[in-house]
Amino acid sequence: MIKLLHVEDDPDILEIALMALELPGVFEVKQCSDPLEALATAQEFAPDVLLMDLMMPGMSGDVLLSRLRELPGLETTTAIFMTARAQPHEIQSLIEKGAKDVIVKPFDALTLADQVQAIMERP
């Protein structure tokens, strides 16, 4: 199973994404609705992939990523953002900050798991 840490402040999207990610049965999903909670549990969970919202209260997704990168074992973990702020320059900026790719909201629930896997397998 691929260990996936999903950080998202919207409870509805958390629920939909959980179902979508667990559909194919390849992901072990841990979800956090708060960036601080993610920082507190990430090291112990030791995810293979990070799936993060960008605009969250308290701490934006890109800041959360830079904090997670400071934790032992998470320096190179694949990071994917899910965001509605998907203008080309914004996507480019996130990739420059260490994300491997960006999934644009609204995402397709039926193909979300496939999308994440495809990004992880990409060189």
């Binding site: 939909i16 179902m19 979508a20 559909l23 203008q87 609204p106 995402f107 629930a109 039926l110």
Partner: protein, 550 residues
């Protein structure tokens, strides 16, 4: 100057061989030309008397000659002074130039053969020709004229001169032409214009700075520039641009100056910050008459524009996030329900979920369209156009807006949808256009009123009009209603809930179809928004249109 004499006159000529200024009759000489015969006594007496008279006459003649020489000398000096100071020209009785002095040739750049024999009017500004014809009439009446004239020089430049023109006649009072005396005032005018220009620059509300491009030494700052940096008076003199307390990077400035040296570069704009405000410095190079170069920098406070651009960007980002986040949940939930991930749905329930899912997809399309407005305007968006019936789209749009119309208590009625109105268009985009116009019309109409959607097939276009009887738009707002983020000043934003993007999206989409938009409105009476698309005739029509994506 020359002198000559014949039986009757002593001729004094000055100012060159062709001109005659003074003709003096020799009255004193005439009595001795013919002497009648007399007796010896008489001869003796007469001889004595004559001797006395002759001696007197000779002395008188010598006095006259001496006086003439003095007069000649005086005239020579006056002529020289006149020639050295003034531009002289003379015309003959046919009003053709017969004489010009060297000063004239120097000032105008013409050679004598360019001007002698020509009419003066040929050298005046064309638009002044009638004016000079009037002057000529005055001169022929014997009146002189003084005033400013404009002559065209050989190199095409204009010479301004303070001019006095006198009629010239002979000793019988017959018209001989004119003599014009000019003083070149071009430089004075230039100097006055320069003073006016500097005065205007000083009072200009935009900050203006002039400096030497190599040393960057300041040579001029207007009041606005000095106020911007907190200086006063002439304290800038002797200082450099680098001394000016602006956060303008000097290396960038020098780069800009280098760019100005490149052929075809007339202006370079540098953006910089000062006291939290954004400024643009427009640099231009000018070359003075002396050949020296100066750089002009005109500063514009761009804070308003920058803030507007930032607000627009923020607005788009907010719309993007605020709409897309709930859409993610709606679309995701519907998709999972339809996939059977939550169990098998009864057929009827599945149909309704499918409708909801399809409309969620449509919403996604519309949100994306709003965000893609920049692309539309930039010509980077693709349109899937095919020939179809606009009536179908209008009918579809009415159905799609029914709930909205009901919300505002407005009835939507269609006209002209009985016969096909063919055009080449992207059905989803035109549906978006009509939906937008219909929702606007409903939104700004009074409860119980009617909105009409009309289609008219004209010679070359198909015209769709959405007509409401709503609050109308103030006349002064009409020209900018298709601009982005603009709303009528009488629109109640809290209750009307408009983004201000609707009409600019309509205009952009219609124009991408080669069409045009029109807006007419009367305050308190209503508004008509129309768009016209080029009419199409296509044998492959009719066919089923799939307007809704998903």
């Amino acid at each position: 100057m020359s002198m000559s004499a014949d039986n009757n006159t002593l001729r004094v000529a000055i100012l060159g061989s062709c001109s005659v200024l003074a003709t003096i009759p020799l009255m004193a000489v005439a009595p001795f030309v013919s002497i009648p015969p007399l007796t010896n006594l008489a001869i003796g007496t007469l001889a004595a008397g004559c001797t006395s008279m002759i001696l007197t006459s000779i002395l008188r003649l010598r006095g006259t000659q001496s006086s003439l020489r003095k007069k000649q000398h005086q005239l020579e000096q006056e002529a020289k002074a006149l020639n050295d100071h003034a531009i002289l020209s003379m015309t003959d009785s046919d009003t053709r130039i017969c004489y010009v002095n060297q000063k004239f040739l120097d000032a105008t750049g013409y050679a004598p053969e360019d001007v002698i024999g020509k009419e003066p009017v040929e050298f005046y500004e064309k638009k002044d020709a009638a004016f000079y014809t009037d002057i000529n009439k005055r001169l022929r009446r014997g009146e002189s004229w003084s005033g400013e004239t404009r002559m065209r020089c050989k190199d095409g430049s204009i010479m301004y001169s303070q001019t006095t023109i006198l009629p010239r006649d002979d000793d019988q009072g017959r018209w001989q032409g004119t003599i014009a005396v000019r003083t070149d005032t071009t430089e004075m005018r230039r100097a006055a214009a320069a003073i006016d220009t500097v005065a205007a620059l000083r009072g200009l509300s935009e900050p203006v700075v002039m400096f030497m491009p190599d040393s960057l030494e300041l040579v001029f700052m207007n009041r606005a520039a000095k106020e911007t940096v907190g200086w006063s008076g002439d304290t800038y003199l002797g200082k450099s641009v680098s001394d000016v307390p602006l956060d303008l990077d000097i290396d960038r400035l020098r780069d800009g100056l280098r760019q100005l040296d490149e052929p075809g570069t007339e202006q370079v704009v540098l953006r910089f910050m000062h006291m939290g405000a954004t400024f643009d410095a427009g640099l231009q190079m000018i070359t003075l008459q002396s050949g020296e170069r100066r750089c002009f920098a005109i500063f514009r406070d761009m804070s308003g524009e920058v803030e507007l651009a930032r607000a627009r960007e923020e607005f788009i980002a907010t719309v993007s996030h605020e709409l897309r986040t709930p859409l993610t949940a709606i679309k995701g939930a519907m998709g999972l329900l339809l996939s059977g991930a939550t169990g098998t749905l009864p057929d009827k329930s599945r149909d309704f979920v499918a409708i909801a899912h399809r409309n969620a997809e449509r919403l996604v399309l519309i949100v994306n369209d709003i965000l893609d407005l920049e692309k539309i305007v930039a010509g980077k968006m693709e349109f899937r156009r095919e020939v179809g019936d606009l009536c179908e789209v209008l009918i579809e749009a009415k159905a799609a807006n029914q709930a909205y119309a009901d919300q505002y208590g407005v009835t939507v009625r269609l006209e002209g949808t009985d016969s096909p109105a063919l055009a080449d268009f992207d059905a989803a985009r035109i549906l978006q256009v009509i939906t937008n116009l219909l929702s606007n019309a409903c939104k700004f109409s009074d409860k119980g009123s009617e909105v009409v959607g009309a289609i008219a097939v004209e010679d070359e276009v198909v015209k769709v009009s959405i007509i409401d009887n709503g609050i109308g738009i103030p006349e002064e707002d009409l020209p900018r209603m298709f601009d982005r983020f603009q709303q009528a000043s009488n629109a109640d934003r809290h209750h009307r809930d408009s983004s201000g993007l609707g009409l600019s999206i309509v205009k952009a989409i219609v124009e991408k179809h080669g069409g045009t938009t029109e807006l007419s409105s009367t305050l308190g009476v209503g508004t008509t928004v129309s768009f016209s698309l080029p009419r199409a005739v296509n044998a492959s029509w009719p066919k089923k249109l799939h307007v809704v994506a998903g």
